[in-house]
């Protein structure tokens, strides 16, 4: 349904809370099938921007289209075409792994037989088959995150939004998590990832850097490093963040 190769198009998006401008006039596009890293310090406005794109909150001003639908008027249509994994683990902890998967497959309208085969595939891929009937709250953090991601893509969305998906786990678990993202992207899903781990930024096709609610840089990690004469994305970020007024 996209005429262009973009699945997210944002122009002059702004969100104010009282006289605090959380997101300050940002514009960017995300291409179909890429991994788009949405970087920034804590409090830079990443989550607020993502909540506007996922139809959880209205912008104060600006325009935006996600999966071809308008964020002002078609948020319920957007929701059919996206997956979302929040920063805070948001599956039902008291339900089992299998129940959670069935629930979300069901509410996104995945046909029953299809849902069963997808769930089994995902359980298998995550090696969660033996834990199928244990309550989700008993799983270790790294597994919870992988499960939350799998649930977010169970209906094969066009775009999956990941809000700091790898917080609080060890580097090995983070690497495994990124392998899942790559697998999803191979299947044609676009990934929109916020993170403040700068090493993860290297895994993205393109990254944007948010400072004080604005996007100060947007390009591929390689191009950004060249532009700022830095050896790593972390260094680029340090250069940009020096001008930041908001602290944690």
């Amino acid at each position: 349904m996209e005429k262009s190769g973009y699945v997210i198009e944002v122009e002059h998006l702004t969100k104010r809370f009282g006289n605090f401008t959380a997101v300050d006039d940002i514009s960017f596009d995300v291409r179909r099938g890429e991994i788009f890293g949405f970087l920034g310090a804590n409090g830079a406005g990443k989550t607020t921007a993502m909540r506007m794109l996922t139809g959880l909150s209205f912008p104060t001003s600006g325009k935006g289209r996600v999966a071809g639908f308008d964020i002002w008027t078609q948020s319920e249509l957007i929701k059919k075409h996206i997956g979302y994994m929040s920063q805070k683990f948001a599956l039902y902890g008291d339900l089992t792994v299998n129940d959670n998967m069935e629930l979300f497959a069901g509410i996104y309208g995945v046909p029953k037989a299809e849902a069963r085969s997808r769930i089994d595939l995902l359980l298998d891929r995550l090696s969660l088959m033996p834990e199928k009937n244990s309550p989700v709250k008993d799983l270790p953090q790294g597994w919870k995150q992988k499960l939350a991601f799998s649930v977010a893509i169970i209906h094969r969305p066009e775009i999956v939004f990941l809000d700091e998906p790898t917080g609080g786990v060890d580097p090995a678990a983070r690497r495994q998590f990124w392998e899942l993202i790559y697998e999803a992207v191979d299947e044609g899903i676009t990934a929109f990832v916020t993170t403040h781990y700068m090493d993860e930024a290297e895994y993205c096709n393109r990254i944007s850097m948010m400072v004080d609610g604005r996007i100060d840089a947007l390009d591929s990690p390689h191009a950004l490093k060249e532009k700022y004469g830095a050896s790593s994305v972390a260094e680029v970020f340090d250069i940009l963040a020096r001008g930041a007024e908001r602290s944690e």
């Binding site: 948020s75 599956l91 339900l95 309208g109």
Partner: protein, 367 residues
């Protein structure tokens, strides 16, 4: 419809997967219905009377015997002087003093009026006034017996109170329908509120809000599931009311259940509105308590509407509990039917529909 089914199944799994909630669901009506009516008893019994008998005649002895036979009184002491009896009252050993004047028998025989003094301790006002009332009716009954008919000159007038529908003035019969309402308020109102606000606190509601689930599917999955639980708890309460306290022996099962269902839908919708405006469990529980107290104390559940101030009687028309209380009492005690209670049914339904509409409107998936 699709999403509703999955959300409903989710509610079932969550509720019965919890080791605590199903136990509460059963124990709540059981304890409330079995223990509270026995403990919170406002019937007056065992009023302690101190007798000052200055006559010491056959007649005064007969009177005292009659009082003790009535079953409402305990003769706590016999005093020689009024002052001595006052002392007992002051120490809290007696609730009422009855003084029989000297020469009572003689005066009665002569047909002269006799005055018997009754002094009641009104610190516990119910016990004092009702006990005093009982006592004077026994005395007047006695005087009538003595005088034979027609009543001799000076015999006090007899007032025979007549209580209809609850002939024995059993406080339990007044209390039990009220407790059935409390069961619905707790299960039907608090359970869904707690369930939604917990979803807010845990963040799971966000995963729902970011999905294409329609607001009404989410809301009704809660209303209907907790409505069914409410009917279950109400049924437990009703069975106890029926078999233990002999309530609703006049039939009216259909009226009772239809009104209970409408009221449950109201309470669930009300709980959802509260949860739409609260971010934490604490906040929602306090808000619920506030409204539930108003519902309970101002709608005639425990105190009759007719004995309220006039302005507050008008206020009760804005409380859906008022209509439900009316229906339940009328059906249980008088055997009223739909036709007699059409106004209450219409009002109750109007509240239920309106509050659920508000619940759907005020639930925002997007802020």
């Amino acid at each position: 419809m699709g999403a509703f089914k999955f959300l409903f199944v989710k509610e079932i799994k969550q509720f019965f997967g919890n080791p605590f909630m199903p136990v509460v669901l059963i124990l709540l009506p059981l304890l409330l219905m079995l223990v509270v009516p026995l403990a919170a008893n406002m019937e007056i019994r065992d009023v302690r009377v101190a007798i000052v008998d200055r006559d010491c005649s056959d007649m005064s002895e007969q009177l005292v015997a009659k009082i003790s036979e009535s079953g409402y009184f305990i003769l706590s002491s016999h005093e020689d002087t009024y002052a001595g009896a006052m002392d007992e009252l002051g120490k809290g050993n007696a609730d009422i003093i009855m003084e029989i004047p000297a020469g009572m028998e003689r005066s009665v025989v002569r047909g002269e009026p006799v005055e018997i003094y009754i002094a009641a301790n009104a610190v516990n006002s119910t016990k004092g006034s009702i006990g005093g009332g009982y006592l004077s009716s026994i005395v007047s009954d006695f005087s009538e017996t003595l005088a034979g008919t027609p009543v001799a000159a000076g015999a006090p007038l007899t007032v025979v109170p007549q209580f209809r529908y609850n002939p024995n003035l059993e406080y339990k019969l007044f209390m039990v329908p009220a407790l059935m309402i409390v069961v619905i308020v707790l299960v039907g109102g608090f359970f869904p509120t707690i369930s939604i606000v917990t979803e807010k606190e845990k963040g799971t509601i966000e995963q729902i809000n970011v999905s294409p689930v329609r607001k009404r599917d989410f809301i009704f999955s809660k209303v209907i599931f907790y409505g069914i639980l409410g009917i279950f708890a109400f049924t437990v309460a009703f069975l106890i009311a029926h078999f233990v306290y002999g309530l609703a022996s006049n039939g009216g099962l259909l009226e009772i259940y239809v009104s209970a269902m409408i009221f449950l839908v109201f309470m669930a919708g009300f709980g959802l509105v509260i949860s739409n405006y609260s971010d934490t469990l604490l906040q929602s529980v306090f808000m619920m308590f506030f409204f539930v107290l108003v519902f309970m104390l101002m709608s005639g559940i425990f105190t009759p509407v007719s004995s309220m101030e006039t302005w507050s009687q008008y206020v009760t028309y804005c409380l859906p509990t008022r209509y439900f209380v009316n229906i339940l009492r009328a059906v249980c005690l008088k055997g009223s039917s739909f036709a007699d209670l059409s106004f209450d049914f219409v009002m109750l339904s109007a509240f239920a529909v309106a509050i659920n509409a508000v619940a759907v409107i005020t639930y925002k998936k997007q802020s």
